[in-house]
Symmetry: C2
Subunit: 176 residues, 2 copies
């Protein structure tokens, strides 16, 4: 049917690749369809910051590999692929001793805050991420929790943009 | 030995009656002895707000009975006794229909925030606590988490005062 707008269908599993919280994924499915990526991001921010609770935040954080680790593909291979792609700048320029230092600080961070260090890695080197980790390590736990959630939202938005562009391509290929 | 100051010994279990977080209790034991109740409260606040993390906060919250429930004495009977004593004003003046409304709101609160409603109950009626619950229900989850932690600290301080005065009596009886 020419001129009819094809609706983009996004399942719970696809939302969980954007953000590893089950509550977030369910609420995004409930809120669909979206007019545009921007509308979806607007809703996603409201869900993430105002509706889901701390348990959902911790679930989302725990879905990530530690910065500097090669993601295990055993649990959620799409999620792991996204993590690896986002750290490609970093892996291109890091020595093994720097990775060791990053691993040590990851352990300290997790011991203090109870969750792994979350940072939007796109375009950052491991040295930049380590500097951010050391600075954020000084924060009070409740302050750091909110910063981690804000970084998670940046990651979610990048992944949503990728998801929407992949979907648009599939839809347009199906149309042609 | 006349004139020697007897030291008040407080074990991990006794700290857990004040605040149900294991990390908090361990760090209080590590920080002992304290010159006075005021010094202990100063340290306790630093540990609670700056050192232990969100997992410790959630552990402490989950040690409480829901407001309006009679505490179960099965897990930690000293803790349960303190909870019951703190709600004595409330239980003296509440109808069963009011308790039902409070129970319903407790369920809504926990569903939204992922932990039970924490409020320093001393001297408050159930109606006052229900009004506070309804008001706090509107908060963003991260905001409410910090308010709950602040209420937990008020409870902890009252219980520490009780613990110190009980201990002082025991020490002075042993001296006489």
């Amino acid at each position: 049917m020419i001129g009819e707008k094809r609706e983009m269908e996004i399942g719970e599993d696809e939302w969980k690749v954007c953000c590893g919280s089950s509550d977030f994924a369910k609420l995004m499915v409930d809120s669909a369809p979206f007019e545009s990526l921007e509308a979806a991001i607007y809703t996603a921010r409201d869900i993430w910051f105002n509706l889901v609770n701390v348990t959902a935040w911790l679930e989302a954080f725990s879905a990530h590999p530690q910065i500097g680790d090669t993601p295990s593909s055993s649990i959620n291979s799409d999620f792991a692929r996204r993590s690896k792609a986002e750290q490609s700048t970093a892996f291109a320029s890091t020595s093994s001793s720097a990775l060791k230092e990053l691993a040590d600080w990851n352990v300290r961070y997790k011991k203090k805050f109870g969750f792994i260090f979350i940072i939007c890695a796109s375009g950052k080197t491991h040295a930049e991420m380590l500097a951010a980790l050391k600075e954020r390590y000084e924060n009070r736990p409740i302050v750091e929790l909110e910063i981690a959630a804000t970084e998670q939202m940046k990651i979610t938005e990048l992944r949503m943009a990728k998801l929407f562009s992949d979907k648009a391509r599939v839809v347009s290929e199906a149309d042609s």
